[in-house]
Symmetry: C2
Subunit: 271 residues, 2 copies
């Protein structure tokens, strides 16, 4: 089953547009997991067990594993996800992109070493820099378009000669000529809901990965108003810190589960 | 000593603008190292021993380590470089960039886990996405501007409202408001020497990291004609495959040394 089929099925099965970001920072983990072996994996495992019936995706941010020498915990987490909830796709958030022979190695990392269903990539170097990812026809490729950070506008909102902002041009590439196998998605931040609407007009039904809900203060009602497709799907709405650090006590995983359900229901009430 | 001082000293001491890219692909390593323990590290070590008096930089491309589960070999290589040739700066080629708390983890990876002197980053998300790197005031930050791949023009040559190409605007940011501690560099590919001249006009003495010589077929004479500063420096000219795979036999490291000297002299003849 390819990435887009997998995503479409889980949207329906779990009736959820929620993605949980697995971005574990050792200094923020509850005391009860901090001192055991592979604390990052054990933390993730507990979060997964308590959320997997209420999500459409998981999104581990690879920097948290690389910055904490925790490649093993990431591999264990990916393997656990495959056995515990094989129907839930996993987007490895890595924002890669480089010349061909280098990107090939990044594609091996994402899809073969870690077995991700999709990976986030950066469009600045053009299509050939993400082609080795696209060549995995069944895998998803999630390209940055309009990111959720304040500084994003410095580059992404630059107006081109024809009056169009750069991010809109990038959106048309991602959903158009770059969408070789129909498994592309775009990153469009929740902190700019109107722009999300502009993107939706350009990309049709192409799904959007929407970070920025929760800790980053994005506007959920705006996201749904402007971002949903006619089918009331088309969105993968990520929350990381708002869910995984819902409690810093022993009940952290139960609280993460409760926050996930709360977000799922808040979204569904607005659909 | 900060990154720029370190680079300026080694340009003079080794009389070289050559950077050797340490991008070891296990399938291409000579038979004599392929079956020993930590083959990637042993390969790098031999290359380093035979080239370190003739370079101004090393540039390990992190994808080759991540794609081959070789984080240990990368750490060993970085430690070896620090003891064998501490005066030669090391640029970790990672092309990172993400929202603040994520980039912080990438900065820890590059500067603390691996002890790099500089790191390559992607400008698409704006300055706040690279700020955690810039906050290490002594470290170098090498920002993508005009990359060497054919598809680069798809985004980087887009004309802005004022008629200026995007890469020129990015150049002015990298050398201007983003250059918080004077340790910034830009990536400008050898495959587009005239554009390198345009960039030089915009960035003054800010050094350029120039990939694309060797396997990618860049034009060395053009690079020097358009890229040098008035001081006849300002360039870090990278070759990876052309040097590290100069021979696939037991003499691979000697041949890599000979190729490095050849490239250094070819460059110096044109300075």
């Amino acid at each position: 089953m390819n990435f887009m089929e997998k995503l479409t099925r889980i949207w329906a099965k779990n009736n959820s547009l929620v993605c949980v970001g697995l971005d574990p920072d050792l200094t923020k983990l509850p005391k009860c997991v901090r001192d055991i072996k592979n604390p990052i994996f054990e933390f993730n495992k507990a979060i997964i067990d308590n959320t997997c019936d209420h999500v459409c995706c998981y999104k581990p941010q690879i920097s948290f594993y690389e910055g904490q020498c925790a490649e093993e915990d990431l591999a264990m987490t990916m393997a656990y996800l495959r056995s515990r909830c094989p129907e839930v796709p996993v987007i490895l958030d890595a924002k890669r992109g480089d010349i061909g022979n280098t990107t090939k190695m990044y594609a091996v990392e994402a899809f073969e070493r870690y077995g991700a269903d999709a990976v986030t990539v950066n469009p600045y170097m053009g299509m050939d820099a993400i082609k080795p990812f696209l060549d995995y026809a069944d895998k998803g490729v999630v390209v940055l378009c309009r990111t959720s950070n304040a500084g994003a506008k410095e580059i992404q909102e630059l107006k081109l000669e024809n009056g169009m902002e750069l991010y809109k041009h990038v959106a048309s590439l991602i959903a158009g000529p770059w969408n070789l196998h129909g498994n592309n998605m775009l990153v469009a931040g929740a902190t700019y809901p109107e722009e999300l609407g502009e993107i939706r007009k350009i990309v049709g039904k192409t799904p959007l990965l929407v970070p920025g809900i929760g800790a980053q203060g994005g506007d959920l009602a705006g996201v749904l108003k402007y971002g949903l497709t006619e089918e009331k799907t088309g969105l993968v709405i990520n929350s990381s810190r708002g869910i995984i650090y819902a409690s810093s006590e022993e009940d952290f995983a139960q609280k993460a589960g409760a926050e996930t359900i709360k977000l799922k229901e808040a979204i569904n009430a607005l659909r």
